[in-house]
Symmetry: C2
Subunit: 397 residues, 2 copies
Amino acid sequence: MDGRDVSAASGVTIYEVARRAGVSIATVSRALRGTGPVAGATRERVLRAVEELRFTPSRAGVSLAEGRHAANGIVFPNLSGPYFAEVLIGYEEVTSELGRSVVILSTKGRDLSTKERGLSVKGRRLSAHGPDLSLNEPGLPGQGHDAIRDLVRELAGRVDGLVVFGSTVPDDVIDELVASRLPLVLISHAERPGAVTLRSENVSSARALATHLLGHGYRTFAFLGAPYATGDDVDLRWQGVHEVLGDAVQPVLTAEYTVESGYEAALRLLGTRDRPEAVICSDDEVALGAILAAEELGLSVPDDVAVTGWDDIMAARHARPALTTVRQPMRELGARAARALDELIAGASLEDSHRTLDTELIIRSSCGQHPHEPHLQELNPQELNRQARHAEESHPR
Amino acid sequence: MDGRDVSAASGVTIYEVARRAGVSIATVSRALRGTGPVAGATRERVLRAVEELRFTPSRAGVSLAEGRHAANGIVFPNLSGPYFAEVLIGYEEVTSELGRSVVILSTKGRDLSTKERGLSVKGRRLSAHGPDLSLNEPGLPGQGHDAIRDLVRELAGRVDGLVVFGSTVPDDVIDELVASRLPLVLISHAERPGAVTLRSENVSSARALATHLLGHGYRTFAFLGAPYATGDDVDLRWQGVHEVLGDAVQPVLTAEYTVESGYEAALRLLGTRDRPEAVICSDDEVALGAILAAEELGLSVPDDVAVTGWDDIMAARHARPALTTVRQPMRELGARAARALDELIAGASLEDSHRTLDTELIIRSSCGQHPHEPHLQELNPQELNRQARHAEESHPR
DNA sequence: TTGTACGCGTTATCAC
DNA sequence: GTGATAACGCGTACAA
């Protein structure tokens, strides 16, 4: 407990350096950060003293004096699975390139509690069936809510700006952050006045995907996923799909966005005689689970049932059958969020900027043999002409 | 650039709260942190003022005054692939539970440059063949080295302690950290005086794995991996394998520990007529790549060639064939590192503590039909009795 | 070119 | 129970 050394754990202060170099602390500071003039000889002495004493400026001292942290934060729900990790990679890379540290916060299973979960169908909401969706230990309502609020406040206090994934932080906490004028970028969150939002496109990609499946001749569908809040990615994907397929698609909820959850839900869904011809999954991990379930049930994908994913994670290409999916630029999402945040911090008033990144429909074999385009046209001409952008196995990056 | 508000971006200071509540800043501080006595009525007024002004103590001010950051750091090479992400999950969870923030630093492709890469065979080193292993843009030697040093110093300056993965930070930088008396935990790094190290067991697990494969009757082997520094995990795995198999195992280097790298290297390795009967991979991702390569070449796994991995990532269980591997407790590794670091920060002098976590040999189908134990015994009795701990598909966690 | 002195926002030690 | 006030380590006008 001699921990009174916030200065890089070395305890050496600028005063000691100054004394050793025979100058004032102002000169040391100038010599070190190149602000203001310093005579060559003086600089030499200072640098030598710094070297000998292994001086590193105390981060807390610098932050206090500079009025900034030189650190940015990011809030995500978890790191299991490739999606958030990929976004984080892009975010960390750019942020660190900009000379700022990265502070992370995972909200894990902490419940937002005030939200109702389900899929919205034209205003109404379908409640979840299947396993109990309360992933948390039973407790007072709002418990996780308050815990998250505290954690986010703590984080907000030590960074110059924050990136927050949709559905990880209660909206009133978001509002609080906006009100505090903390530079804020929301990823995959409904647009919000005062905050910059960024996401990959969902609705029209979903329409294109659904249309493609119609072209295969499928007529009964299930949408497999665990949607959370209105306006989040999966909710939008559902909307796009539902728009094209109407009552032909049936929503089925999983507990989480994981392989295991997808497997379990698909096992139930495909175990019945009136199983759908195609299962559109909220994301690749759920889809991989669905493929496993089909295999378990002795069903062939895509002959007995077609399966599609979303994201185009690494495993999607390596799955058997290779997974038809919608590729979204995960790393770029993180990278762009980092840059937008940096601009905000620099003072840019790009508030109320809402950017959407393009996606790409990746047709592989899990949705069946690819019919000729002309055939597709017969089914839904105008829809197809507007959207469908495909790519056969064009390598990412 | 009105950024002079390091206090949670709100700009409200303890002085304003004090004035509004009609008390001194000392009382505000006491009321807020429960140190020292405060009259009930006074406390009420203070708390109300805090609420009304939305006051949050400036993190920089607190850090300076308290002499600590309430944040811990972690340095890893990258986040692509499940391994480091899983360790980070465990680390973040415990650290955040302990009330501390998590600052991350990814060294990415930055080269340590002074290291020679290869596999050590009884003192000698085999240089890498295959693709050029310099993953970086050509540059001055030591360039990445210095970049990492600066980044690590920066990180070290804003945390109370650091967890560092082996082979991500040059040894002299590690020594510098140790010398600065910054609480430090090294994961999968050779033991180092003054630093706590933590890792999963490698050598004897590798021996058990090799022994198991011998039991299958295989007689020619390849060890597929991209070893980096002496004493890192893969180096130890190689040592264990080599100890049992001797000249029957041939080391083959990949460019990275990724599916792609494993695929490419395995494609070359298995494309020849004298391909090994079994490929022992440094980790699951490389192994998944090897399986893909075999498939590409029309070879059956395990009938034509056996493949094993290491780690037991999620995909290992779902691969086809399911991957025989060595399970290591990735999340627990991160969690334990966090706890050890916390103890160090709290003042515990568990320096020179070197803990090794147990692993578990997971036999699945990628190494062939499982022969009866008695048969194994005939081959290498004493070796087996000492080590082999198997488990058939016992679910992790 | 260099030094002095103040401010950054808290915590904590004393007196009162 | 409460209030001055001295650290904490650094950046930077301003003066010299």
